[in-house]
């Protein structure tokens, strides 16, 4: 597809380029933003942020992309990735420590701090746990912390929508809850056994398992990303990988529920 906005941009007329660009893509931008919020003020604010970022630094972001656009690389795919990143960044910035939004402010104290550490400051769960304990938080076991985290994720997703919360904090830690590892050190130790089990698999298959099982991406999309012929290939690889994991854990005397 010919991107009509590129020619004026390269010819030194960015404003004319911008007019063409925004006329062609504004609906896609709005649609992608509404994937994360339908609150009108937020939609407009994020849209303004997206426009600002695309125009910023003498249209540098658009220029970089224009340099690499070709007919086999639809520009719209790149644009939705950009909109996702900018939307998540906008919410993280808007909801920053000094301005926790109404949702976070209404959380119980422990979950409010978990929200800050994990959602806003993007700390790994283990780091958030240690920080919570070292800064005078309640004396939670790691398992109890994970339960609080999972509840925080659940409340956030029901309040602000799953896509936005997944963008802010990654996948929920639900799998580790029944029963959870006693402490982070134990979790790390068990992880070494898992890592060794997965090491025998090709990297693509390991990623297929992560994307399909942990991140819950549809099998067809996993197949496309990894160059597999179809979703059935993903099911085959996942089945094989899970069998390997199971066998290795049994050898090590670890039951699935221990993790």
């Amino acid at each position: 597809m010919v991107e009509s906005w590129i020619a004026p941009l390269e010819a030194g007329d960015p404003e004319a380029s911008w007019d063409l660009f925004i006329e062609r893509y504004r609906r896609l931008i709005f649609g992608a933003i509404r994937h994360y919020t339908t609150e009108p003020d937020e939609v407009m604010d994020v849209f303004a942020r997206v426009c600002e970022a695309l125009r910023g630094d003498d249209f540098a972001r658009l220029r970089r992309c224009a340099d690499r656009v070709d007919p086999n690389r639809p520009f719209s795919t790149w644009l939705v990735v950009v909109v996702h990143n900018l939307t998540v960044d906008w919410f993280r910035h808007r909801d920053g420590r000094s301005r926790l939004n109404a949702f976070a402010a209404a959380l119980p104290p422990v979950r409010k701090r978990i929200f800050e550490y994990v959602f806003l400051e993007q700390r790994p769960h283990v780091e958030a746990y240690e920080l919570l304990r070292s800064l005078g938080g309640p004396d939670l076991s790691f398992g109890e912390f994970l339960r609080e985290l999972s509840e925080t994720c659940r409340a956030a997703a029901s309040s602000r929508g799953e896509p936005l919360m997944a963008g802010l904090a990654g996948p929920r830690p639900e799998g580790s809850l029944n029963p959870p590892a006693a402490d982070p050190a134990e979790l790390a130790e068990q992880q070494q056994v898992l890592a060794a089990a997965l090491e025998s698999l090709p990297p693509g298959d390991r990623l297929a398992v992560r994307l399909y099982v942990v991140d819950e991406m549809p099998a067809e999309q996993v197949a496309r990303a990894l160059g597999y012929p179809n979703a059935k290939t993903v099911y085959n690889r996942v089945y094989r990988a899970l069998a390997v994991v199971r066998a290795r854990l049994e050898q090590a005397g670890i039951k699935g529920g221990d993790l």
């Binding site: 006329e23 896609l28 086999n72 990143n85 996948p171």
Partner: protein, 257 residues
């Protein structure tokens, strides 16, 4: 009893299964046990989420690489380092997941396929105004920071901009009885000027290019009494180089509405 092939239990175990498999599993203790084992192993894989980094680093994938990955456009060789990174980066995996989800969103399908074409719009153009001004302010800040000795200050794409003189709108400004023409100050070595007139919502009412520093308002552009308008003028001083004036506001025939 004929059991489904074991791999076909995977989609059933993770919520993608077909009704026939679901019916079989419901009545088959062997397959139910196998599904339970699959889910148990999956739980063990979900636990490491707690150890993973969520913040962005210099090694994280750029937006084009993520786009190419989810669209299946990476070749085997280029995909290998991307896969290696994703195995250890929950942040980038979440971006990949989000991109895949957006691309699968049926409400975006017409826009993504290029089948939809936005009608000639007006409201979106309002963003040209504040954003253009914001960009100008950012540029001005960058000029200031370049005055220091800090070598780490990012450089501009083209330093000639720093010495360019922008045209200055002379008339109309503020409140005017009527508008017959637009006048601005000249810029040395300018080869042409481009004027843009906007309404209060930011819609472009009129665009004109000229080599002169004044133009008469054409009859086809009707300015409403007490209406609020903005205009700016850009000067082309060399090949591919434009400098823009500030945006100037004016109202016609009295205070704005």
């Amino acid at each position: 009893m004929t059991h489904p092939v074991p791999e076909s239990l995977v989609p059933h175990a993770f919520g993608e299964g077909d009704p026939a498999t679901a019916r079989h599993v419901e009545g088959c203790p062997t397959c139910r046990a196998e599904v339970a084992r699959l889910r148990e192993a999956a739980e063990s894989l979900r636990a490491p989420v707690s150890l993973e980094r969520l913040s962005e680093t210099d090694d994280c994938l750029d937006e084009l690489t993520v786009a190419d990955l989810v669209a299946g456009r990476l070749g085997t060789e280029t995909r290998a380092p991307v896969v290696a990174h994703l195995l250890s980066c929950a942040r980038c995996r979440s971006v990949v997941q989000a991109a895949a989800r957006l691309l699968a969103d049926p409400t975006l399908a017409p826009e993504l396929s290029g089948a939809a074409r936005a009608p000639a719009g007006r409201l979106w153009r309002r963003w040209s105004l504040p954003l253009g001004l914001a960009a100008a302010e950012a540029l001005a800040l960058l000029f200031v920071s370049r005055g220091g000795d800090d070598d780490s200050t990012p450089s501009l794409r083209d330093t000639t901009l720093t010495t360019a003189v922008a045209p200055m709108p002379v008339a109309p400004r503020a409140s005017v009885a009527r508008v017959h023409r637009f006048v601005w100050s000249g810029v040395p070595r300018a080869v042409r000027y481009r004027l843009r007139l906007y309404d209060a919502e930011g819609a472009v009412l009129w665009t004109l290019e000229t080599s002169d520093t004044a133009v008469a308002l054409v009859g086809s552009v009707k300015l409403v009494p007490r209406g609020r308008y903005f205009w700016k003028v850009e000067a082309q001083t060399e090949w591919r180089r434009w400098t823009a004036s500030d945006l100037v506001e004016f109202t016609v025939g009295g205070p704005s509405r």
